[in-house]
């Protein structure tokens, strides 16, 4: 065995004797890597889906002509008058047992570059004669050919689509910059694409990923720090035997690299599992919130391996940097047993607290800057600053505890707790971050949920909502309903990225659209040609009642939660004049049951208030299901960090508890106190996490949500949740402390006696 190899095997032998430590190191790094890669994988998958959608359906970006009814004859008439239009029949269809968005195109007139590369270049005969092209969900049908399409979309010739969806043309794609022909409305496609629309959502996920990564690194840092400290004697011996500081550092780097690669590989696999578990929820959310189709299949891409391992190595280096730096400067004859491990001087603690206060100040200054990134900057400043200030605060709190307590043991308890702080502070910071994030996000979600449910109950004022397949159906339905129901027509178009709603002036709608801010007598103004806009649009463009948008003067601003798009309400008549579209949707005030209508009109979609409410709330819940899952994972990682630190400390604690034991406290009592100490620390952290979490919630609600979604919500408090979270974290801390405490309670007296004995 060569010299360096011998030295390396000596270094590595440490881990064989400290298996739990090695396991924690690997687990911490693997978890950190897993959460980050998992979140990144989800985001990458979603973005890839958007790209597919963008490239496959760029027809969505062409201006289109709409009308109340477009027949084939209308289309031919336009073509024969020289209009460069191409027809599309589009709708939901049940194909092979699944509901798909069926898009029928006319390939001969479709503007070039619009359709995806579905292999038509080879042989379009099949397409023209009825082939259906689908995304990966290949059906067992020889006419179906899989292709790179957005999930849930089937592309086919217009003839096939007409056979399934009916002959009426949905819209005409128009090339060139022309005004609409008479009888048609020209609708410009959205200017915002999906990736822009959903960016805030992904940023949210990414922020969680980084938070979890940071918390995971706390574990790694404490495990490495301990391993280095415990091997100080060995380092000194190796140095004395002639190994240069550089060679030793190199060997340790190699050791860390091995750990990083092993943990990184495990992390990537774990991350893949996490992503796979969360992706369906994410996909459902994106569909519900943004209408963005994201496939739920996940492939383990090679680039993940690369980025995952890179993340692990970087995280390892970041965690080990301090230890390596110290090692490089270790004199050969330095005392093997330095001052207590991880002990920070009071000065360092003050400097840290000062830096923390500075970060919080910086975050507060960022409040003046608009933008989502600034919002996340505020969050980062708050969290990091809070974490850095924690040791100082905890020292002050334990000092106060010592001063306030009467009994000898109690005073010692607090003094000793304070002495533990340097070694525990990283774990405590991790716990603080996890708890604060939990409280912050929980408060945000809770506030949102309460506002949302109140709002949706108000918005869903009618008894039933119906949508006919075509105008003939609608007419028959209205005739059938007769005077058994009051039917209020509803219509919405999307033009230039803005939803344009036509609204009948009716008490029902007046009730359902409460206005946040308005000019006097807003509904009369709406009738007279003014408009209402949603809060998103108002916040995005800094608009107030009395300002103008393209469609007119703003008479009122209404909340519109859950809608990522700007929306403008026009009076019914103005909307009809601008967009002559078929009226297919009605709100019904009636006591007819939904089932009755469904039985009479199978093609009419009927939803009752409760069903819509349920679906909307479900979308909402799914939106935050992922957040909640990540929250729990982060908390779990923090508990693990706590466990790692306690385990680390317990072996170093003997000289601290042995004298107390010698003076007459039993091991059981000491273990009990040790357990209490952990709980007390957790409780203190909970107490500190509460204000931090509430500050976080405020930033999320007042800054991030406004920037990301465009709505401002009142902040509501949920003390019950805090109590639950507090108990949960006490439980987590108790579990983390259980093993070290058990060990202390059962330690052989001989182990304690060694402290005093000569051989130590």
């Amino acid at each position: 065995m060569t010299g360096p190899m011998f030295a390396l095997s000596a270094l590595l032998s440490h881990w064989a004797r400290h298996k739990v430590q090695a396991a924690l190191l690997l687990l911490g790094l693997a978890l950190a890597t897993a959460l980050l890669t998992g979140v990144q994988a989800i985001n990458a998958e979603a973005r890839a889906s958007y790209d597919r959608a963008a490239s496959a359906l760029s027809q969505d970006n062409l201006p289109r002509l709409v009308a109340e009814r477009i027949t084939v004859a209308d289309y031919v008439a336009l073509r024969r008058a020289g209009w460069p239009v191409s027809p599309v029949i589009e709708g939901e269809a049940l194909i092979g047992g699944q509901t798909l968005r069926l898009i029928g195109i006319e390939p001969l007139t479709l503007p070039s570059g619009v359709a995806p590369d579905i292999g038509l270049a080879g042989d379009p005969t099949g397409f023209l004669t009825g082939e259906v092209i689908l995304s990966a969900e290949a059906l067992n049908d020889p006419r179906v050919r899989p292709a790179e399409l957005p999930s849930g979309v089937a592309l086919t010739d217009i003839g096939v689509a007409a056979g399934i969806l009916g002959p009426e043309i949905s819209y005409l794609l128009l090339t060139g910059d022309r005004p609409a022909p008479p009888g048609y409305a020209l609708i410009h496609p959205a200017t915002t694409d999906l990736s822009q629309l959903t960016e805030s959502f992904h940023l949210n996920l990414a922020a969680f990923g980084y938070l979890a990564f940071g918390v995971g690194l706390f574990i790694v840092h404490s495990a490495i720090g301990l391993a280095f400290e415990q091997r100080r004697g060995m380092f000194r011996t190796l140095r004395a035997l002639g190994l240069s500081a550089r060679a030793l550092t190199g060997l340790l780097l190699a050791e860390l690299l091995v750990f990083a690669l092993v943990a990184g590989a495990a992390g990537v696999l774990l991350g893949w599992l996490i992503a796979g578990a969360l992706l369906p929820d994410v996909a459902a959310t994106l569909r519900g919130l943004y209408g963005a189709e994201v496939g739920s299949g996940l492939t383990l891409r090679p680039v993940w391996w690369l980025s995952g391992l890179g993340i692990a190595v970087l995280g390892m280096l970041a965690s080990a940097g301090q230890s390596l730096w110290r090692l490089g400067r270790l004199p050969v004859l330095a005392p093997a047993q330095s001052r207590a491990w991880g002990r920070e001087s009071a000065r360092a603690m003050r400097a840290q607290a000062l830096a923390g206060a500075g970060l919080i100040g910086l975050g507060a200054a960022l409040l003046a800057v608009r933008g989502l990134w600034a919002g996340f900057g505020v969050l980062a400043g708050l969290l990091l600053g809070g974490a850095l200030m924690l040791p100082m605060l905890m020292a002050a709190l334990t000092r106060a505890g010592q001063r306030l307590s009467r009994g000898t043991v109690a005073q010692w308890f607090w003094a000793d707790t304070r002495q533990q702080l340097p070694g525990l502070s990283l774990a405590l910071m991790a716990l603080l971050l996890a708890l604060a994030a939990n409280i912050g996000v929980g408060t945000m979600v809770g506030s949102f949920r309460t506002s949302f449910t109140t709002w949706i109950d108000q918005r869903l004022a009618a008894d039933l909502y119906v949508e006919a397949a075509d105008e003939a159906d609608a007419t028959r339905l209205l005739a059938w309903l007769g005077n058994r129901a009051e039917a209020l027509p509803m219509i919405r178009t999307t033009d230039g990225g803005t939803q344009i709603v036509g609204m009948v002036d009716h008490p029902l709608f007046r009730r359902a659209w409460p206005l946040l801010r308005a000019l006097p007598d807003p509904w009369a103004r709406l009738d007279a040609g003014d408009v209402f806009i949603n809060e998103q649009l108002a916040l995005r463009r800094g608009l107030a009642p009395g300002d103008r948008v393209e469609q007119g003067v703003i008479a009122g601003i209404y909340p519109d939660y859950g809608n990522p798009m700007p929306q403008v309400i026009l009076s019914w008549d103005r909307h009809r004049a601008l967009y002559p579209l078929p009226v297919l949707r009605y709100a019904l005030i009636t006591d007819i049951r939904a089932a009755e209508i469904r039985a009479a009109f199978p093609r009419v979609v009927v939803e009752d208030r409760a069903a819509i409410r349920k679906a909307s709330v479900a979308v909402f819940e799914r939106t935050f299901a992922v957040t909640a899952a990540l929250n729990v994972l982060t908390l779990g990682v923090a508990a693990l960090a706590m466990f790692a630190s306690l385990l680390t400390l317990s072996s170093l604690r003997l000289p601290q508890v042995a004298p107390v034991w010698a003076m007459g406290l039993t091991r059981g009592r000491l273990a009990q106190l040790e357990f209490l100490r952990t709980l007390a620390l957790a409780a203190l952290i909970c107490g500190l996490a509460l204000p931090l979490g509430l500050a976080l919630a405020w930033v999320l609600l007042a800054v991030v949500n406004v920037e990301a979604f465009g709505w401002r919500l009142p902040m509501l408090l949920f003390p019950g949740d805090w109590l639950r979270l507090g108990l949960l974290s006490l439980l987590a801390a108790g579990l983390a402390a259980a093993l070290p405490v058990r060990w202390l309670a059962r330690i052989a007296p001989a182990e304690l006696l060694k402290v005093f004995a000569h051989e130590r």
Partner: protein, 339 residues
């Protein structure tokens, strides 16, 4: 959508195409299920309309035009019908696909446009009585009109002579192996109207020539393209001649007297000799030819009005007005494909 791909398929009639030697634009592929042309009299006016049981068919008009100041123009209006299956059906289910080309040529410019449409819905089609052919806003009836990027034309057409059956009473043999088409022409159109170039409208007059042809397999497998002439001589006579290039060239011609009486010439009677070539779109194209038909004392040289009369469309080919000098001065059109 790749229009070129569609085109290729339209022309190729992909059903059971042979592995090699499909000829120009697939016209040499076999007839799989389609009706084959045979000799016999035409059935007018029905034969002015489409024949959906045949794979391919065209209505092909070229016009030589002159403005008041003597500037010469050429105009092309062409409608192809291609069938994916040998029948017609209503609505989107129609297997008939229509393709149109229009072009306007001057001594310095050549502008061309293309349109595609499916049959069955009325976007494109042909009616026999009264005669009318159209695709979108392009029309051919008693006038021909089309419009593309930077050009347009609208010309009234007035027949001054009879319809002429080509080949053997309208049965035009295309190869020694017997590939053939049904083929008739109206070479006696007087044309007048307007051409529009870069927004300027110019009154023009001249002559026009319509070819009507349908077949299911007009080319032999080894035939890769053709050089096709339609000439109107100043003395009122007309000449249609083509050379199908293949393993052995197949040359056919019809002499049409000023009274419209066709005199089919035996294969090889017309001699075609390229005199000068020039580079067009990266290929060598013969733009000056010597044509000899000793039986009629014909010995002329043709020159292109514009050497660069290249239709850079999904299936590219050369199509432009020419002028004849020599024993029989006159004008006409030259089409060169598959080079």
């Amino acid at each position: 959508m790749n229009v070129k791909a569609i085109m290729l398929i339209l022309m190729a009639c992909a059903v059971s195409a042979p592995a090699s030697g499909q000829g120009f634009a697939g016209l040499g592929s076999d007839a799989g299920g389609f009706e084959m042309p045979g000799p016999g009299p035409f059935d007018f006016p029905a034969d002015h309309g489409p024949h959906p049981t045949f794979r391919i068919e065209w209505w092909y008009v070229t016009a030589n035009l002159t403005a008041a100041d003597g500037t010469e123009y050429g105009a092309q209006w062409t409608l192809f019908r291609n069938a994916l299956a040998p029948h017609e059906a209503g609505g989107w289910a129609s297997p008939q696909i229509w393709l149109a080309h229009a072009a306007l040529t001057t001594a310095t410019q050549h502008l061309a446009a293309e349109k595609l449409a499916r049959g069955g819905i009325g976007q494109a089609g042909v009616t026999a009585e009264p005669f009318g052919a159209w695709i979108d806003d392009w029309e051919l009836s008693d006038h021909m009109a089309a419009r593309g990027e930077g050009f347009a034309f609208d010309l009234a057409l007035h027949a001054t002579g009879p319809i002429v059956a080509q080949g053997d009473g309208g049965y035009s043999v295309k190869s020694a192996a017997g590939q053939a088409s049904r083929y008739y022409s109206q070479p006696f159109y007087a044309a007048s109207g307007e051409v529009e170039l870069d927004g300027k409208r110019i009154p023009v007059t001249g002559t026009a020539w319509m070819d009507r042809e349908w077949s299911s397999q007009p080319l032999a497998a080894d035939q890769t393209g053709w050089d096709w002439f339609s000439l109107s001589f100043d003395d009122g006579a007309r000449l249609m001649g083509f050379r199908l290039r293949g393993a052995t060239d197949f040359v056919s011609a019809t002499w049409i007297g000023a009274d419209g009486r066709p005199e089919p010439q035996p294969p090889g009677a017309l001699r075609l000799t390229p005199l000068r070539s020039t580079t067009v779109a990266g290929r060598e194209m013969p733009v000056e030819w010597r044509l000899e038909l000793p039986a009629k004392g014909l010995d002329i040289t043709t020159r292109a009005l514009n050497d660069q009369a290249w239709n850079a469309l999904s299936v590219p080919y050369w199509e432009g007005p020419i002028r004849a000098e020599g024993s029989h001065p006159g004008h006409g059109y030259l089409e060169m494909t598959g080079r």
